[in-house]
């Protein structure tokens, strides 16, 4: 009898189990509640998988890009505007995974641990997401692309704000093409090339090779290179874009001389080059704030010198992510600190009270950055011509990425050295042909808009 009664304490074990369960439950609510509540099956927010009730998405000037009215999602007026911000705003079904509708659905739903989605339920509004983007700049950039596909990103290298970002092809969310999934013209339309794209860099990769040379060859400024149109290695030949004769290191970058850079690459060797690239974020999974970036890949050949030479001038298997490379340009512009491009101005319930933290994505030796900056300035002054970019005081590097079986991609990367125009730009225009004309002129158009309308 006494023993039996003593054994009643076994119930304490079950009570402890309840308490443990409560603890686990609470911790799961804290850590996963937001993703649970914003699941696509949640009928408070979604209707057959599409967002119906959520906060507004605005640009930096208060232009409403998407909002909810009467259990429906309403988008900005103007077809071109809608197309130009498509990948930033995202579709309501979440096909564009890096769009705000998908990526910031928890903030848009107004979810927080205490209230759940009560605010959304009572007001139908959730909380707003304000983008750093100037939607007018986006519209201008979209038009400047004409019929070409590609991407352009403009970012303030002092504050990390992304002011303009487009990805083409795009479609109009108010008038979704029926052949969206089948028409080859729309291939990859759900990918935001600015963050999920991978491009063969072409000559802008010479900036990385130059950085490696600056850091590993103390005498590189004293050297001269001879270019007779091609550079022969032990197992192949790298063809140049011209015959440059005898040139210095700086002139080699001005002329984008493949011979000089292939020679530098082979001398530096694959390992040093890879080390420089990886120190700048190549071959790493990076995140631009909340947005996961597709990896930039750089694996120079350790077997073939010709392949190594091609890798050093941005061909071969090298692929870069536009946002990541922009951050490298921002590092050059900003004394070695390349910030992670940030699309968000404010969001969430307390977004206005707490400023966004600026993340550093690329770290570069300040001396290297400064050397590259003057070389890039020289590119514009001595080669491309300042007159093409009136008043911008650009430092830049152009590129032409050759892709097997396709017309080349036109590439432009640069920044303004004006302290009142701290903008960096990267632009890829697909199948735009030889030379960097299209990317360079699109970049100029967009930067001129900011130079005329903003006082940074």
């Amino acid at each position: 009898m006494r023993k039996t009664i003593k054994r009643a304490s076994v119930v304490y074990v079950f009570i402890l189990m309840i308490l443990a369960g409560v603890g686990i439950l609470i911790s799961q609510f804290v850590t996963k509640g937001s993703s649970w509540a914003t699941n696509k099956a949640n009928a408070h927010i979604y209707s057959s998988g599409t967002v119906v009730n959520a906060g507004r998405i605005l640009d930096r000037n208060g232009v409403v890009l998407a909002e909810s009215k009467n259990d429906k999602r309403v988008f900005a007026s103007g077809e071109v505007l809608r197309k130009s911000v498509l990948h930033l705003v995202g579709d309501t079904s979440g096909f564009i995974s890096t769009g705000a509708h998908n990526l910031y659905r928890s903030q848009l739903s107004g979810y927080n641990l205490i209230d759940g989605i009560y605010r959304l339920k009572t007001s139908g509004k959730g909380s707003d997401v304000v983008l750093n983007i100037d939607s007018e700049a986006n519209r201008i950039a979209y038009n400047a692309f004409g019929n070409y596909k590609g991407t352009i990103i403009v970012c303030n290298y002092k504050t990390a704000e992304v002011l303009c970002s487009i990805s083409k092809p795009a479609y109009d969310v108010n008038n979704v093409p029926r052949d969206l999934q089948t028409n080859p013209n729309y291939e990859g339309v759900f990918l935001d090339k600015a963050v999920s794209g991978q491009y063969t860099p072409g000559s802008i990769m010479k900036l990385i090779t130059a950085a490696c040379a600056i850091e590993n060859m103390p005498d590189v400024y004293d050297r001269t290179f001879t270019c007779d149109g091609e550079y022969k290695t032990t197992d192949g030949t790298v063809i140049c874009n011209g015959v440059h004769g005898e040139i210095t290191f700086g002139q080699a970058l001005n002329q984008s001389c493949n011979c000089a850079f292939a020679q530098l690459t082979v001398e530096l060797g694959a390992n040093k080059l890879r080390a420089t690239a990886e120190a700048m974020g190549f071959n790493k999974k990076l995140k631009a704030k909340e947005i996961p970036l597709t990896m930039s890949r750089f694996n120079p050949s350790t077997i073939s010198n010709a392949e190594l030479g091609w890798a050093g001038i941005g061909q071969s298997t090298t692929l870069i992510n536009p946002s990541h490379f922009l951050s490298i340009i921002m590092a050059i512009a900003n004394g070695g600190k390349g910030y992670a491009p940030d699309r968000i101005l404010t969001m969430g319930t307390y977004g206005r009270l707490v400023p966004r933290k600026i993340d550093v994505m690329v770290n570069m030796n300040p001396e290297t950055a400064s050397a590259l900056k003057s070389m890039m300035r020289s590119n514009v002054v001595d080669k491309y011509g300042d007159y093409k970019y009136p008043g911008l005081e650009l430092c830049a590097k152009t590129g032409t990425a050759e892709i097997d079986g396709k017309t080349s991609t036109s590439v432009f990367a640069g920044f303004s050295q004006r302290s009142d125009l701290p903008l960096a730009v990267i632009c890829f225009v697909e199948e735009a042909g030889w030379g960097s004309g299209v990317a360079s002129s699109v970049s100029n158009t967009v930067l001129q808009y900011f130079a005329n309308n903003y006082d940074f």
């Binding site: 119930v11 079950f14 189990m17 209230d115 339920k121």
Partner: protein
């Protein structure tokens, strides 16, 4: 509950405080429910007011006649049943009326059971009829019932449908506690094992896996309370485990349910449907809920029965959900206290087994729908919609109360000044 810090000299005050708080809670529940109705249903008002009046009448009756020890236990049951009543009222007034009738039946069961088991002679006399009767009930159930949602555990009697296995839970503990009360001979032990195997076997035939598990668990608890022999328990567990593995192997239905466990989000629209909906809507509710009747989980199948915890979290908030869990923990604490002060091991075993069963079933339900345990499809005691479950919950509560403070109806010829048998220095009535 333990809401008041008032001294033991004023138990009525404590009771009144608790009752007032519970009544306010339920009155506010009523206002919340009718505020959502397009046209105020007077029946809903009557149901809530009727329930509040019922509680107060019981409390008076309790103070005057049966002794107020363990009043908190009953208060917890009223609190939990009230939550269930509110959920039913948001579905429709007819559901609320049915639920109120079921709570009344539960309370009646509670009182009748308390009267019956206060005398060990009655207990002993009832053990064979109870055991045989309960087995017959299960057999009849198995023979007559149609398969509902994979299990054959509902019995339709005209307009009423009952779940006999719920009622048998109460009898099972009774039979277990009485047959193991004294180790007179091994005969009773074998008889009880035979009885248990029959119950569990019949439940397997009904494919009511969740309830079978609860019976098995209760069997272990009763065996532990009596024997305390860990080796014996291990043998039982090992045997049962092997059996369970075979069952899972042979019954794809059960295996299917287990397959989604901890992978509900990958199986959102198949085996994880209910769990994922519970999680997403519970999270939507936050700490204080979206408001009574405002939830979306109510549109999911079995929302007011198996998934009711999710409805509570969504509409009344995680705070209320946790209050429910804590309430069950309190029932457990009362059961320990009651068992330790009980007059014989029958009461101790019955109280501990009842509390353990309630907590086990609660855990299977709450942690099952939230994917911390595999989903087994059992009800949430006291709260889930449905009469059999409520009657069972109140019946089990009777064992706990009986162990701590057995019914003592005052004989008419005894003077009013007689002291009640109360361990905390009771007061004259």
């Amino acid at each position: 509950m333990c809401l008041s810090t008032k001294t033991k000299q004023q138990p009525e005050f404590r009771q009144v405080t608790v009752m007032v708080l519970i009544s306010i809670f339920q009155f506010l529940s009523m206002l919340a429910v009718i505020s959502k109705q397009e046209e105020t249903s007077m029946n809903t008002v009557y149901v809530f007011l009727g329930y509040i009046v019922l509680e107060w009448i019981y409390m008076m009756f309790n103070v005057i006649i049966t002794g107020k020890d363990y009043f908190e236990l009953e208060a917890i049951a009223f609190f939990l049943s009230g939550i269930g009543l509110m959920v039913c009222a948001t579905i429709g007034e007819s559901y609320a009326i049915k639920q109120l009738i079921c709570i009344c039946l539960g309370l009646l069961t509670y009182l009748v059971l308390l009267l019956l088991i206060k005398d060990m002679r009655v207990v002993n006399a009832l053990k064979y009829p109870a055991a045989i009767g309960s087995l017959l009930l299960l057999v009849v159930n198995l023979a007559l019932a149609k398969v509902t949602n994979g299990a054959r555990n509902w019995l339709e009697l005209g307009p009423v449908s009952i779940q006999p296995s719920e009622l048998v839970k109460v009898v099972f503990i009774f039979v277990g506690a009485v047959s193991l009360e004294r180790l007179l001979s091994k005969k009773y032990l074998y008889l009880f094992i035979g009885y248990s195997l029959s119950c569990v076997g019949l439940l397997f035939l009904m494919r009511d896996f969740g309830t079978a598990l609860i019976f098995f668990f209760t069997f272990i608890i009763i065996a532990y309370m009596r024997s305390g022999d860990v080796r014996t328990l291990f043998l039982i567990c090992a045997g049962a485990l092997m059996g369970a593995i075979l069952i899972i192997y042979f019954k794809p239905y059960v295996a299917n349910r287990f397959a989604a466990y901890r992978h509900v989000w990958e199986n959102m629209d198949t085996n994880g449907y209910q769990q994922t909906r519970v999680l997403m809507y519970s999270a939507s509710g936050g700490l204080f809920g979206l408001g009574v009747g405002e939830g979306k989980l109510r549109n999911v199948f079995a929302a007011s029965t198996d998934l009711i915890f999710g409805m509570i979290c969504e509409e009344m908030g995680l705070a209320t959900g946790i209050a429910v869990l804590i309430a069950f923990a309190c029932i457990g604490i009362f059961a320990i206290k009651a068992a330790k002060g009980s007059a014989s091991s029958f009461y101790a075993i019955a109280a501990v087994a009842s509390a353990s069963l309630l907590i086990f079933q609660l855990s299977l339900n709450v942690f099952g729908v939230t994917d911390l345990l595999p989903l087994t499809g059992v009800t949430l005691p006291f709260i889930s919609r449905g009469g059999s479950s409520i009657i069972c919950s109140w019946g089990l509560l009777a064992y706990i109360r009986a162990a701590g403070a057995p019914f003592k109806l005052p004989a008419p010829d005894i003077a009013v000044s007689r002291k009640t048998r109360s361990r905390n220095g009771g007061v004259a009535v």
